[in-house]
Symmetry: C2
Subunit: 278 residues, 2 copies
């Protein structure tokens, strides 16, 4: 049974793990949330690369034979550095997300040439331009929009109660209106941050209210499909149990434990605290 390492700056990457557990259930999983040093989204490329490489090394030491960078910011800014530092296969979230956009665009009425992808992401991810470069290379037009308030809103859980969703819907409306001013013909919406899948129902409501339907692409799902293609063999008889899932965090175990199950959509086993320095 293959051991797959999954890395994120926090627990957002659990939305990627959730898709992996569904598509590649017969594997061991070691998850690391670098919670002592999050958020990566507001930090520089050098700092993010340093953090990500030390986290990748830790997961390889735990036996990971394949590593999923389940963090858009770390993928966008440090994928090359991580690949250079490691000798195991590394899968990021940007390329699979872009490929899923291409598939959606080619099936759309506008076709690939007429499609325009709107990428919602953190400030650091949009600043890197990684999604635009990757999407452009596939023949797709792209506009990136930084949405710094969305991660705090998701982490506060302002997603359910009416008084809270009113705020979250208004923030989404403001961001989408600003973005659609730049990209009025956008027809594909890429969720370029692992926190955003939790916002999908509210995003759908917002797009409906704006009378601007778009095809929503979740990088997490696309990434899990890429990993499924890399892990040899189909599902074995012996499906991995919860003992084959180990969770590490560098800090804030309490918050990880509390919010993690909302991202994973199942109870989280006890999270182990480790110190990567810093």
């Amino acid at each position: 049974m293959k051991t797959i390492g999954v890395f994120d700056s926090g627990f957002g990457g659990l939305t990627v793990l959730r898709e992996l557990l569904a598509l590649v259930p017969d594997a061991r999983y070691v998850y690391l949330g670098d919670t002592a040093r999050l958020p990566y989204g507001s930090k520089s490329r050098e700092t993010i690369a340093r953090y990500a490489v030390s986290s990748a090394r830790f997961l390889a030491e735990q036996g990971a034979e394949l590593l999923v960078i389940a963090c858009n910011t770390a993928t966008a800014l440090a994928l090359d550095e991580i690949r250079a530092a490691m000798s195991i296969p590394i899968v990021g979230v940007v390329e699979p997300g872009a490929q899923a956009c291409l598939a959606a665009a080619s099936k759309s009425a506008a076709g690939v040439a007429g499609s325009h992808v709107l990428v919602l992401a953190t400030a650091a991810t949009t600043r890197s331009g990684a999604y635009s470069r990757t999407l452009n290379a596939l023949g797709l037009r792209a506009t990136e929009k930084a949405c710094p308030l969305l991660v705090p809103l998701v982490e506060e859980g302002w997603l359910d109660q009416k008084v809270h969703t009113a705020v979250t819907l208004e923030v989404l409306r403001i961001y989408l209106l600003e973005a659609l001013e730049q990209a009025p013909d956008a027809n594909v919406l890429l969720l370029g941050c692992t926190h955003y899948p939790l916002l999908q129902p509210l995003l759908e409501t917002t797009l409906k209210n704006l009378h601007h339907p778009m095809h929503i692409i979740d990088s997490a799902e696309a990434t899990a499909r890429e990993v499924a293609g890399l892990v040899p063999g189909g599902r074995s008889q012996a499906i991995a149990g919860s003992a084959d899932r180990v969770f590490y965090a560098t800090d804030s175990i309490e918050k990880f434990q509390r919010l993690g199950s909302a991202f994973l959509r199942e109870p989280l086993p006890p999270v182990k605290l480790i110190d990567l320095g810093g």
Copy 2:
């Protein structure tokens, strides 16, 4: 001329420095924003103490003879550790803020015994209970309210344009309504985070809309008054120039530089990047 070190996890402490420059202008200032490791508000006591002590040591190496911990979270969770590790006087923001509440309460119609202080702060600060302990020791009742969305809203600058302030006002209304349910007789409001002074006009509007007037206390101002009492002598003839203000950050110079002047309310000289590890 005395050298005063001012430390915060980011640029929020610049609201404290602003008050210091007004009250103690004839001093050299060395400011450190530990931006590579922010936010402290969501991290554990151990991690915060480790970060704060290494930052304090750096400022002492730069010649600081007095150190201001211009960060509520670092003061609430690590003041004892910083004092134990350093041989220079250390001023935090919690005790001065609490003292200012006492002064306001004693002048209020309710008096000290009838007053009730509502403390707005980060999750880590409220979890520490430092403000409640300090206020209770002064004979004041206190209720603390964690407001995790306020720092992101301030950092995004959602404070001016109408479409943005509508969101910020609604978030403030939700937080204050929740807090006043716990403390319906609160008559003093303490801004327990260095970002919050930038919200003061919107807070005043919210309190007015809720028909619940309160005396707003800013820890930054109270802290500067305490420092003024500790620095011997009045204002010298030679007022320090901008050459006597040095700014360091551990990352995100760009953001520090961009937002810093809004907090300091004057242009910021170039910020120097340093590496404290991690």
